[in-house]
Every structure is written in structure tokens, then in C-alpha cells.
């Protein structure tokens, strides 16, 4: 536990000392700001604003920005040779993986909490349904954790950060778009199964409309668990190669 905490602390600190994290934060706020503003202008007092709307967009953007946050996690350590240091310290491999994962997740948490400014504006304009906001944030947080686990897995797979980011984006895009699998697949049970693995269908139709569903919560936690396990295996495989 202590080891995970020490790695977590360094990893989180790393985000705040590197420019990319600020650029990502800037881009995320800009994008959600636009969509928020757009939505506000469109409704313009005719309909109540939807507190979850910026968050749905944010979830969609996560497909592209989360891999940028996770690409260095293991790829950089691998290339710089610092993984050799970590792996010869008295640490378990899973402690390295978990410390880094929680570091990235904590930064993501900071990032999505920046959008609370939109919620505050909404509350100031008219009383909104805070329950929806709460469940949308909870869902987005779990969504982010799962996306980070996916991105980190690809960062462990190779030592090139660009490749890691690209593969992560491709995987997350597929996981997001799998919601639409019914459009291309005739086999209904198979399509339903694939759809149940989609990040979008586990977020947009439950958390984002104010429903915290047990199975969808378990889904995101399960994705994290599975991919963290897989990542640990990839890191460990260096030992038997």
C-alpha cells in the first residue's frame, strides 16, 4: 500500500509539472465550454438546461484525450530504462501498475472537476436537478477510470508513446461506437452482447440521465480490473522473455 502511494504521488505530481497536462486541461475546458454555451443559447429559457450535457460531450472527448494522458505512463519508463529501476526495487509489479493508474485517475478527477464551473453557472441561471449532475459525474468518473485502464494497457505494450496513444484512441473509439453495432450486424443476440460492452451504452443511457445502475457500475469497474490485470501481466512478461 505504501509503495502504491509513493508511486501515485510521483505520477500525479508529474502531470502538474509537464505541459501536456495543462494543454489537455485547456482543450477539455474549451470544448466543454463551447458545447455548454451552445446548449445554453439554444434552450434560451424555453427549456430547462441539462446538467449532464457537457459531461456527455466530455465522455466523448475522453476517447481522444485520455490516451494522451496515459501514453507516457509505462512507455516512457520502458524507453528511458527507468522500468529496469522499478523492477529491481523491492516492489511487486502490480504496485507499479496500480500506483500509476491511480495517479492518472486522480489527474482525470481534477480535470472533470474543472467543469463544475458550468454546473455553478447553471445553478445560478435556474435551479437544475442536482441528482442528474451527481450521477453524471459519478458515471463520467468511472468512465474515465476504465478509459485510463485501456490507455495504460497500450502504453505497457510498446515503448513508443505515439503508437501507444494511437492504439488507445482506436480501442476507445471502437468501445464508444460499439453502441451502434446494431446498424451493421443482423445477429441480434450477438449485437446486444457487443453493445453491452460499449462504453457509450453503459454511460449515456444510465448515468447521464440520472440513473445509477448496478450493472453499469460493475461494468466499468470490471473493465478497470481486467485491464489492470492484463497490464500487470504485460509488465511482468518482461521477466520471462
Amino acid at each position: 500500500m505504501r509503495h502504491i502511494w509513493i508511486i501515485f504521488r510521483r505520477e500525479l505530481g508529474q502531470y502538474f509539472s509537464s505541459p501536456i497536462a495543462y494543454f489537455v486541461a485547456f482543450a477539455v475546458l474549451l470544448l466543454t465550454g463551447f458545447t455548454f454555451n451552445d446548449d445554453l443559447a439554444m434552450r434560451n429559457g424555453r427549456a430547462p438546461v441539462d446538467p449532464a450535457l457537457p459531461l456527455i460531450y466530455l465522455a466523448q472527448f475522453s476517447v481522444f484525450f485520455v490516451p494522451l494522458l496515459t501514453m507516457r505512463l509505462l512507455a516512457e519508463e520502458n524507453r528511458e530504462g527507468t522500468l529496469e529501476l522499478l523492477m529491481t526495487l523491492p516492489l511487486q509489479d502490480y504496485q507499479i501498475v496500480l500506483g500509476k493508474f491511480f495517479g492518472a485517475w486522480a489527474y482525470y478527477t481534477v480535470l472533470i472537476s474543472l467543469t463544475i464551473v458550468h454546473q455553478a453557472l447553471m445553478l445560478w441561471l435556474n435551479p437544475a436537478d442536482l441528482g442528474i449532475a451527481f450521477s453524471a459525474y459519478l458515471g463520467l468518473w468511472l468512465f474515465g477510470g476504465a478509459s485510463i485502464a485501456v490507455g495504460m494497457f497500450f502504453s505497457a505494450l510498446n515503448e513508443n508513446q505515439i503508437v501507444a496513444a494511437f492504439l488507445g484512441m482506436a480501442a476507445l473509439l471502437i468501445l464508444w461506437q460499439a453502441d451502434l453495432v446494431g446498424n451493421v450486424l443482423n445477429n441480434r443476440p450477438l449485437a446486444e452482447f457487443i453493445r453491452s460492452l460499449s462504453f457509450q451504452s453503459n454511460y449515456s443511457y444510465s448515468f447521464a440521465i440520472g440513473i445509477v445502475r448496478f450493472d453499469h457500475t460493475v461494468f466499468f469497474l470490471g473493465v478497470m480490473g481486467t485491464l489492470l490485470l492484463a497490464t500487470t501481466q504485460v509488465v511482468q512478461s518482461r521477466r520471462w522473455r
Partner: protein
Amino acid sequence: MITVESLTKRYGRFMALRGISFQAESGEILGFLGPNGAGKTTTMRILTGYMPPTSGRASVAGYDVFTDSLEVRKRVGYLPETVPLYPDMTVHGYVKYVAELRGVPHAASRADDVLRIVGMHTRRDSLIRNISKGMRQRVGLAQALVHDPQVLILDEPTIGLDPRQTLEVRDLVRSLGRTHTIMFSTHILSEAEQVCDRVAIIHRGELVAIDKPETLRDQLQKGARLFVRVGKAESAETVRKTLQNVTGVASVTVLNDGFSVEARRGVDVRPRLASVIISAGWELLELRPLAMSLEDIFLELTVREGADERL
């Protein structure tokens, strides 16, 4: 302190180690010598628990590197060939980070202590990206020392340093050798000769020789080699012929500034050489033993190896 028994390592179809065995005693500096690709780094990576061997056994401080990997890693300080640094951290922050991961009590002040030992304390707040290669090497060494390990494994700690830095690192290793068991790899032979108590020479994954540098030299030197400088002689050729005829002399080679005389094993030809030269009416300007350097030993051993392979 370090025991290695018939260790092999195979990368795909390539045999990096072909069954090497050796031991290093407590408080000893063992030089690990070999050309690039001989298997030095592989051996060290196995000893530090980075990867397991294909077969064979190794133990450090009484713990098996494979089954008790964590116990071994607690007791070993390791400086890999590419110094594992985080460029965005400060020198002190980095050493403290490693100290914390190693569970060293009072990590921050201990980090200051080791930075003082390696002479990097004045740069403790510099970012690692801004310090020179030699300094990085020393920060890497500080990291390896931070938990005061029983065993230090240093993979080419002087590579890429300028001559002064090289000397500093060598001095540091020598002074640490009084209290630690050190395994030190290098492909610079004179370095091993200066720093190490014993030298293990490996070549193509096999242990070619292991002994004290002096003993290695004695073993391989067939007889004593002497350097002779003669003045007032008519021609080099006459001197060569004269010296050649002295009893006990195996061969004489003409050098630029004198002669290299190889004596047969166990014969001291010096008094006879001196009297022959004097009685010929020449001047004896210099007469001293020519020691065989590790360079020669190394070439001798590895060339012999290569010859076997060609057969």
C-alpha cells in the same frame, strides 16, 4: 555473498550465457570484464532480479534470486547501464523517491547523505535534465547506495565519462569496496586492474578466467619479459644477436627505444644480461621487467577462444 552456479540465459535462439559459475566474497570488488555483448549485463540483470535465468542458480546474500527475488532486491543496489533517471525530477527528489520506495527511514535526510558521498550535494535542487553526463552517473550511483546495500552491482559505471570523472567514480568505487561487496562491469581492462580485487573475464557467455589481476598476469605470462636499453652499441642487430645467445633467453625483439627480452620460465636472466652488456663495452641504460597488462591477457584469452571456434 554472490554465488552463481552454471547460469544460462537464452534470448530466443541466441545463447547470451552458456553456463557461468563464480562467487564473490563479502567485502570484495569483483571486476566483470568482457567485450560488449559478452553477457555482462545479462548476468547483472539476473542477479538483480530483473529477469530470471533460463537455467542454473544464483543467490545474493544467501537468498535465491528467483525464489526470494524481493529479499535479494532489498539487499542489492543496482546501477544499470543506462542510468535510470527521471529528467523532470530534481536530483534530491529523485534520490528521495528511490529511498522512499526502498522503505529507507528518514528518506529525505538519507538522500542528502548519499548525495554528499557522491559529491552531488551542491546540485541537489537542479533538475536532472540539466546536469551533465558525469553527474547523472553519480546520481545513479547515489540511488544505488541510498539503502546502504550489502551488495552493489554497477553496470559500466564509468562509460561515457571524461577522464577526471572516470577517476572520481573509480575512487568512489574503491572506497565503497571497503564496506560493500561490489560487482563492477567494464570493458576497460586497466580499470578492472586498478579497482578490483578479483577479475572475472567473460567472453561470448562463458567465463574464461577468474582470479586476482596479478595472478592472471603471472599465469599467462610464460616467462618474464624484460625491457633493456643499451647505449654506445654499433647496431641494434648486433645487440639482438648477442642478447639472444645469453643462456635462459627465449627471444629478443627490437623495439624503437630498446629491446624486449623474453626469458624462459623460472630463469632470472638479469645478472647475465647485465654482465654481457658491460663486457661488450656498451652502456646499460635501463633494465626493467615488462609486465603483461590485462589488455594482453584479455587478447590472449579471447583470441584463443576464437581459434577454438574456427577449428
